[in-house]
């Protein structure tokens, strides 16, 4: 039986923990709203971009831009792992890292080499131990802006053009809702043009300025930028969402534990009082007798 004092100390420490987890939850909830707004705000841009890309790439020879052309002997790949910088957010980063790890193992036979680019600290730490990281960017999420995404995109494109790798895949947590994020794989390069939905309806005569191929060549790098920006935004939002849920359940667990400990404490106190009473009564009896 632990002493009264030690139980009391435990209760105090669990209470402290609960205070912290509660505060973290509040902070995440507040940040989540902002992040969510950003995700929604960026959506129209991304949608319009792929609409135009779909229309443009429909009737253009695939050799007009190296970014769209499939390389015949693709044997080196780049995997971009987009994770968050901080832990304490449930399985958010762990699931992502596991999926990335699986990808590398499964596709080992298809490629002679899989390079890894880690965005975010957690993914970097994990992949560094397992497979080694080619390039990494950490601590970009807290002050995320479009320029950062553009620079990363440029780096990826440069490496691709220098034939450091022949295919680029990205793995990230898609933000479905506050409660659920899903690990998603996507191919960044070569660009697979999004199929335009109503292309059969009427192929319209467009005036292009400059010509179609040139426009497309200009648009593709921007498309990559937007994709990167989008995944980063979704990661930020997902990170806060996951942390919020994780901290919520942590606070609940702490409350439950405090309840249990209080019960034990009260029982121990009661037992001690009873014991003392018995001692007094029996002492009195013996004096009387």
């Amino acid at each position: 039986m632990p002493s009264l004092k030690s139980i009391k100390k435990r209760i105090g420490s669990v209470k402290n923990t609960r205070q912290i987890t509660k505060a973290m939850k509040m902070v995440s909830a507040a940040k989540l709203r902002r992040a969510q707004e950003n995700v929604v705000a960026a959506r129209p841009y991304a949608i319009k971009m792929s609409e135009v890309l779909g229309r443009l790439s429909g009737n253009v020879p695939s050799d007009c831009s190296p970014l769209i052309q499939r390389r015949e002997d693709s044997n080196k790949a780049l995997l971009v792992v987009v994770s968050s910088d901080r832990g304490l957010c449930g399985g958010f980063n762990a699931n992502l890292c596991k999926a990335a790890d699986r990808f590398v193992k499964e596709r080992k036979d298809d490629f002679s080499e899989i390079k890894i680019m880690a965005l975010g600290k957690k993914g970097n730490d994990f992949m560094k131990r397992r497979h080694g990281v080619w390039k990494s960017h950490a601590n970009i999420l807290s002050t995320l802006n479009y320029q950062t995404a553009a620079l990363i995109a440029q780096e990826i494109i440069d490496g691709y053009l220098e034939e450091e790798y022949d295919e680029v895949h990205i793995v990230y947590n898609e933000f479905l809702s506050v409660m659920s994020q899903e690990v998603t794989f996507a191919q960044l390069l070569p660009v697979t043009p999004p199929a335009s939905e109503n292309e059969e309806v009427e192929p319209r005569e467009y005036i292009y300025e400059p010509d179609q191929a040139e426009l497309l060549a200009e648009l593709l790098p921007k498309h990559i930028e937007v994709q990167i920006f989008k995944t980063l935004l979704e990661t930020v939002a997902g990170d806060h969402g996951a942390r919020m849920t994780a901290m919520d359940s942590a606070s609940k667990n702490a409350s439950e534990m405090i309840g249990k400990l209080t019960l034990i404490y009260n029982r121990a106190r009661q037992a001690a009082i009873t014991k003392e009473l018995m001692e007094i009564i029996s002492g009195a009896e013996s004096v009387k007798g």
Partner: protein, 138 residues
């Protein structure tokens, strides 16, 4: 003409404009162009430059950076990386940026990778000041 153009201007951060306008003019890669209602389907990339639209007789102007412009069925869509209304521009900051870019350009070799970046910064600053200047005159 009674008809109007539906203009939508989006950046990665937000939808900036969604309005009915009478006339649009912008700087394309091959030069300036204007669009009136009833324009044929048209797609062009935009340079760093001025973007104007006329609404109820008032001319609004904005400073935009790289993007593209599309018009179809009197619906104009503009995707740009940044767009600032004349009254949003911080003239002091633009001037400072101009000075910085000029200094860097003097130092750098035109072959340098950085040269292009600063050239773009210079263009942006100049356009910002131009557009902001118009707001003041009004």
């Amino acid at each position: 003409m009674a008809e109007k153009l539906k203009l939508e201007l989006v950046t990665p951060y937000k939808k900036v404009l969604s309005e009915e306008v009478d006339e649009i003019s912008a700087t394309g890669k091959l030069g300036e162009f204007g669009v009136l209602p009833g324009h044929a389907p048209f797609l062009s990339s935009l340079k760093i430059g001025e973007f104007c639209y006329k609404q109820d007789g008032v001319l609004h102007s904005m400073a935009v950076s790289w993007g593209y412009f599309e018009v179809e069925d009197d619906k104009a869509t503009v995707l740009v990386q940044t767009a600032e209304r004349a009254d949003e521009i911080d003239l002091e900051r633009a001037k400072a940026a101009l000075g910085r870019a000029e200094d860097m350009l003097k130092k750098l070799d035109p072959e340098d990778k950085q040269f292009k970046i600063y050239e773009a910064a210079l263009d942006r600053a100049i356009i910002r000041m131009q557009v902001a200047g118009k707001a003041v005159r009004k």
